[in-house]
Subunit: 486 residues, 2 copies
Amino acid sequence: MSDESEQELGITESKEHNTGEWYAEVVQKAELADYAPMGGFIVTRPRGYAIWERIKSALDGWFKETGVTNTYFPMFIPESYLEREKDIVEGFDPEVAWVTHGGHNELEERLAVRPTSESIIAPFMAQWTRSHRDLPMRLNQWCSVVRWEATETKPFFRTKEFLWQEGHTAHHDQEGAWEETMIRLDQYERVYEDVLAMPVLKGRKPDHDKFPGAHTTTTVEALMPDGKSVQGATSHYLGQSFAEAFDITYVDADENEQTAHTTSWGLSWRVMGALIMTHSDDQGLVLPPTLAEKQVVIVPIWQEENKDEVLSYAADVEAELAEAGVRVHLDDRDNRNPGFKYNEWELNGVPVRIEIGPNEVDEETVTFVHRPDGENVAAEFEGVGETAQEQLDTVYAKLYASAEETLDGEIREATSRNEILGTIGQHGGYVKCGWCGDEACEGEIKDQIAAEIVMVPLDRDEEPVHDECAICGDEATETAYFAKTY
Amino acid sequence: MSDESEQELGITESKEHNTGEWYAEVVQKAELADYAPMGGFIVTRPRGYAIWERIKSALDGWFKETGVTNTYFPMFIPESYLEREKDIVEGFDPEVAWVTHGGHNELEERLAVRPTSESIIAPFMAQWTRSHRDLPMRLNQWCSVVRWEATETKPFFRTKEFLWQEGHTAHHDQEGAWEETMIRLDQYERVYEDVLAMPVLKGRKPDHDKFPGAHTTTTVEALMPDGKSVQGATSHYLGQSFAEAFDITYVDADENEQTAHTTSWGLSWRVMGALIMTHSDDQGLVLPPTLAEKQVVIVPIWQEENKDEVLSYAADVEAELAEAGVRVHLDDRDNRNPGFKYNEWELNGVPVRIEIGPNEVDEETVTFVHRPDGENVAAEFEGVGETAQEQLDTVYAKLYASAEETLDGEIREATSRNEILGTIGQHGGYVKCGWCGDEACEGEIKDQIAAEIVMVPLDRDEEPVHDECAICGDEATETAYFAKTY
């Protein structure tokens, strides 16, 4: 790099050696987010928010296609409402932000800023559910929630306030509610695979680690390049516990009162943290074309004597791409040289660059450069819009394949306590092993290397991978996936 | 109506005689919103939220076409940040909700739940604005805000928490910022005219009623059927006051430091209140086709002997409409009679109903019924998709024309204090008159009949309608529009 501003612009930390610092630098220098004045809060900048909007738009479309309706419930929950969860959750003690004053007056009852909305939504579901014809009821909201956890801020991964969607549904019976739980889990898997270019593992949380009050918590887990697992989204089958506590009942076709079965499911902007962590590199942000505001940037390379020709040809290419539905930008800035532009657009994650110099003009060609690996592809002007779409598909496929290769290589088996410790200690990733189902066995691993059981197989009847619990040697009842987590 | 459930379903209050009660009934019975347990808060139900989503989608598209980028800033603002507005606003005393505790601990500094975000956005704009190339900067967020005003709850019109968008922009100079102010005001006018089927008046708030710290506050005002004016959205040219207080400066092309000019502009869900109030009637909700989730409902009328024929024909009509891009629903419920269905869909605001009985089947026709006025239109099956689109356009035009007629007839002139009082007292609506510019003259009217100056003409140089102030008789400097307000 040649001048001071380029050095300021670029990423200085190494993804491999200083993952945490590197991540924070990418987030700030690619202008995705900044730190707010209050610890634990961030400001999401236009480039970051545009990514969230695209994820939201995809998922929201699928939700609506499958019967979900959007709502907006108040951001405050009276303390007495929140406390009704005490009936469901032992040792309920919410770490929330409390509003105690309105204007100059102290409130009669404190209001919690919603940490999640079961306790305000469930009473309304109860009110709106009269007849079996009112079910299934599928409510969702896109909103922000606040959880007052005292941990270090990590944009999108760990923030006191975060954006998410929370779905809450009620059904006639267990079958309907379980089907709902799976539909949402599958949609979460799909958003990772088809929008984020990331494979995930689908599973179930061990019973001791379920969402409080849930019958079953299901999860999609994504492996990060540093070998840790991220809980990518969760979908809960709540059974009848919430319906009983909040009186969500209906009159069936035979005029009998029945208690509903409910679900809840959520995906937060943590998905953006997982995205950035997975694909980005020491040059900065890498985005799949699905999520990039600009999918292709054209960088013209000219001398004074051929400037007009080069720019005119570049504008033709831009028009062809726009015509083909590609989100394209022609960077014709006079005051920056091509090298500076390459670096800047690499930092900002534009998936494909087109280089156009006098040679390309003469030969009526263009040169595509793939952001993830720098591969060069020459192509004819003829049909360049279609070619660009193909290049974008190729980039998507490369990103997915790379993440998949990482994941496939990072699932290992172990048959003893020491093997679990050694394997995770040395390689990270997932270790699968037989498990007796006792939380204490997980505890032994957790105490030593802070790895935990991130999931067990969805199917409760699946045979364990080994006959014996790798930790205590008793009979294994299921397969545990151990990993370190975010 | 024939049975108890139909009576429960229907609207019982009169729009003309009990406007407030009628409005509350429409909101609840058409399932747009419910009252939350905390006074001042509402729950927005799927049918209400879907309207907000469509308004948001239209406006957000126009914002993006004109250079606006979306962001998300924290919902909390430290007290010390909020207090920086004291430099700008005399007697600054925010009526806000205060977060004082996080988990079990008292916070060192209280956090305000944002009542509006100038004081948290402006410092970041200052940080992000270095060079003239960083401007114009146009940030917007769709979020909820809280204002702790102790008034009676009126869904969408008056709630402590409300949904809105707030745009905040910075520009090189006055010209750029003023142009921005007008672009947004025009977009607000457009959303009323082209999406909500409501004409509005564009104007400027009197100087004593500007947004605190603004140079000029512009407004779109909508007239409600009870003769009161609603402030439909506002767009503020802030001059350099915020830029100076928050140090939003940039280095110009000649390397000189300059202070930016800023704007802010917002539209809230009050727009939904104005919509419901304007078009709905004693049968319930009336929606323009632009905002209706279902634009056309098909109600088949059958006897047992012709049920299959009628339903099959109705399904063909449904398919034709769907093909033509109409949002259509075939109500083939067995357990409800046509009369019940008519009432229910009228209550819910579906703009056009199609009735299909044995006659229509025989003659290969359909009968369209317009929600606003019950007009019947017979049409051929051939081309029914296109005909449906025409009927929807007609319904939109009817709604707009009706609102326009009301508005046109409700702007009257007055030349004396008593004439203002008498005209507003008798007719409501707007009274325009010469005004000297003195707040005290407005005060005399306000004290008597709670009417105020809702706007003056946008153009500061426009000649006043009369030479003398209608209240004090001194020289008039502008034209005042008096009205009662929501």
